[in-house]
């Protein structure tokens, strides 16, 4: 009877105008994203090209020679491994327990908010203030001297929020029903956490730990006055020794060593970036694998 209105499904002028506006903004924001990312990729490309020339097994496995003007990065690489390992031994257990408290025990009240604010602050305080804290507390007050221990403690305090935040998220992702089922069997709170919550979130916690490795390895300012030195001919033997570190070594090579062979600092930068980005990619890949695998 009634014939279909032929214009009913046609876009009106207003519709078309709105569509054009949308397209324009989409393009604008897309370009902004591109402009944000491209320069960084170009810079990273330059670093890879220039630093790549310096990288070899010899560069990684020998000490600097000729007043740091030539030679490799082995003592700095080893020092970074020492610093990161000791820092993680200290911060990961405390960080995981702190996250367990926030996720499993804490109520939604002002006290928990204060803890959260403290975590944000711990992550937000300038790294150089952490350095001052490490110097005042660990080097001088606790008398550890400038040592791997003091530097690692400083790094541990500084990067702990990374572990806390990642762990809390993965603990909270475990469904509440899992816990309730366990409690109903007569398990204590800790038994539930140990047997049900932690096994179901361990991979998520691991992503946080890997991220922390990357953060800790890249920090420079907090270790400058607490345990890392510009140059030392000795490799660290214990946590009370001073050490060289990759991040500080880059700073020193770039600013303090005249007539350094040009590819050396580029090589150091590349090793540092490769270390940090590999850790981060690992963490991201882990997270994606986890998301695909999730059963609930």
């Amino acid at each position: 009877m009634a014939t279909a209105n032929p214009t009913m499904f046609q876009a009106s002028d207003l519709n078309q105008h709105n569509q054009r506006v949308q397209q324009r903004y989409r393009l604008l924001f897309g370009l902004m994203t591109l402009l944000l990312i491209t320069p960084v990729l170009l810079i990273l490309g330059t670093l890879v090209v220039k630093g790549g020339a310096a990288i070899s097994w010899e560069f990684l496995l020998t000490a600097p020679t000729n007043g740091m003007r030539t030679g490799g990065v082995f003592p700095a690489l080893l020092g970074t491994i020492w610093l990161v390992t000791v820092a993680l031994l200290l911060s990961v257990p405390i960080g995981i327990f702190a996250a367990i408290y926030l996720s499993e025990y804490a109520g939604d009240n002002w006290f928990t908010r204060t803890i959260n604010l403290a975590i944000i602050n711990l992550a937000g305080v300038p790294s150089i203030v952490h350095a001052l804290f490490g110097l005042g507390a660990f080097v001088l007050f606790f008398k550890f001297g400038t040592s791997i221990l003091a530097a690692s403690l400083t790094l541990a305090v500084m990067t702990m929020p990374v572990v806390i935040v990642a762990t809390r998220e993965s603990l909270q992702a475990v469904p509440q029903a899992f816990r309730e089922a366990c409690w109903n069997m007569g398990a204590t709170r800790w038994q539930t956490i140990r047997r049900v919550v932690l096994p179901n979130s361990i991979t998520g916690i691991l992503t946080g730990v890997i991220l922390e490795v990357s953060r800790t390895a890249g920090e420079t300012a907090p270790i400058m006055f607490t345990g890392a030195v510009f140059f030392t001919p000795f490799l660290p033997q214990s946590v009370f020794d001073q050490t060289m570190a990759l991040s500080l070594h880059l700073f020193v090579a770039a600013t303090q060593v005249p007539e350094i062979a040009e590819q050396v600092p580029f090589g150091i930068a590349l090793v540092l970036i490769a270390l940090v980005l590999t850790m981060n990619s690992l963490s991201i890949a882990f997270r994606m694998w986890l998301r695909g695998k999730k059963k609930w």
């Binding site: 709105n18 506006v21 949308q22 989409r26 604008l28 924001f29 897309g30 902004m32 994203t33 944000l36 990312i37 320069p39 960084v40 670093l47 405390i94 327990f97 702190a98 408290y101 499993e104 025990y105 803890i115 604010l117 403290a118 944000i120 602050n121 711990l122 937000g124 305080v125 300038p126 790294s127 150089i128 203030v129 952490h130 350095a131 001052l132 804290f133 110097l135 005042g136 507390a137 001088l140 007050f141 305090v157 806390i164 204590t188 709170r189 800790w190 038994q191 890249g218 420079t220 300012a221 400058m224 006055f225 991040s247 500080l248 700073f251 770039a254 940090v276 980005l277 981060n280 991201i284």
Partner: protein, 316 residues
């Protein structure tokens, strides 16, 4: 008599007392012990923040109480701490250095990171979105000393060539470096804020015939306003507290900048550069810790306001 009532009667006459339900077995003690440990670790963040404030203050307080003239400290631009006879500690120029670099960085980073966040959260989809998110996360991970190195060896010659200036280590250089550094962090915080807007808001607007852009502009942005502002503030805090990149890219000259091509020096960089040569417990050393107290308090206020602003969104 039904079995149920029988059972109930048995229970009523059952001689078990409260003691029988008391289960102080080893598991109970383990549970209590771990609850204690977990609590101590839980409050560790508070203890650490208080510890930072305490130890930084402890080292710097001598100067604050005995010799510090607040007016001279904050309002004069003369910084010559190693002058043996009459050392001068005015941080105005250093504050100007920090402010100019952070300000320029935010000018670069805020619009771009908000734009990128809108694109990633609202326009991009599927693989593009995942790829961009991963890329942004990786960019945020580049250590600050590497950024400083980039400013020193890549940006420096480029700026000299482009603008025909004698030295490329200046406000512009550090501003760009700091902007590139802060942008990925701000992008991911802003993206989180946009994602936190419930999908039903978008669906309601789309059902009324709004285009994607109209939804973003009229619905998503107003709803995410506080989260976005909080993200920007955290970015400002980041820029303000950045040390290594600023130390290497500003040129490190005590100076109130007149143009973006002037070299400056930042508060953080001053501590990093001079702490090594200051005598422990001496006046110069104490002044550097006093700057540390100032930095701590300012970032504390920034973080606190960011937290309060973001929290406003949840209440409203």
């Amino acid at each position: 008599m039904s079995t149920t009532t029988q059972a109930l009667r048995n229970r009523a006459t059952d001689a078990r007392t409260a003691e029988d339900f008391d289960r102080r077995d080893p598991d109970w003690y383990v549970d209590k012990l771990l609850a204690g440990i977990v609590f101590v670790c839980g409050i560790s963040a508070i203890l650490f923040v208080l510890g930072i404030f305490f130890f930084v203050t402890k080292e710097g307080i001598g100067f604050v109480f005995e010799k510090m003239d607040f007016r001279e400290f904050f309002l004069t631009p003369y910084w010559s701490p190693s002058d043996a006879e009459d050392p001068e500690y005015g941080i105005l120029a250093l504050m100007a250095g920090t402010a100019s670099v952070t300000g320029l960085a935010m000018l670069v980073a805020v619009p771009f990171s908000l734009g990128a966040a809108i694109f990633i959260a609202e326009f991009a989809s599927g693989k593009t979105r995942e790829a961009l998110k991963v890329l942004v996360e990786l960019l945020a991970a580049i250590p600050s000393v590497v950024w400083g190195f980039i400013g020193l060896v890549i940006m420096n010659p480029l700026l000299i060539k482009w603008f025909d200036i004698p030295v490329g280590l200046c406000v512009l250089n550090a501003g760009i470096i700091l902007g590139l550094m802060a942008a990925p962090i701000m992008t991911s915080i802003a993206e989180d804020a946009l994602k936190a807007v419930p999908d039903r808001y978008r669906e309601a607007a789309e059902a009324m015939g709004a285009t994607r852009w109209q939804v973003i502009y009229k619905v998503v942005l107003p709803a995410a306003k506080n989260g976005l502002l909080g993200g920007v503030l955290l970015g400002v805090g980041r820029g303000f507290g950045e040390t290594m990149a600023v130390l290497m890219a500003t040129g490190h000259a005590v100076n109130i900048p007149n143009s973006i091509f002037d070299s400056v020096r930042a508060l953080t960089a001053t501590i990093a550069a001079e702490l090594g040569e200051a005598v422990v417990g001496g006046e110069h050393y104490q002044v550097l810790f006093t700057i540390g107290i100032f930095l701590f308090l300012v970032t504390f206020i920034i973080n606190l306001s960011a937290d309060l602003i973001v929290r406003g969104i949840r209440k409203g």
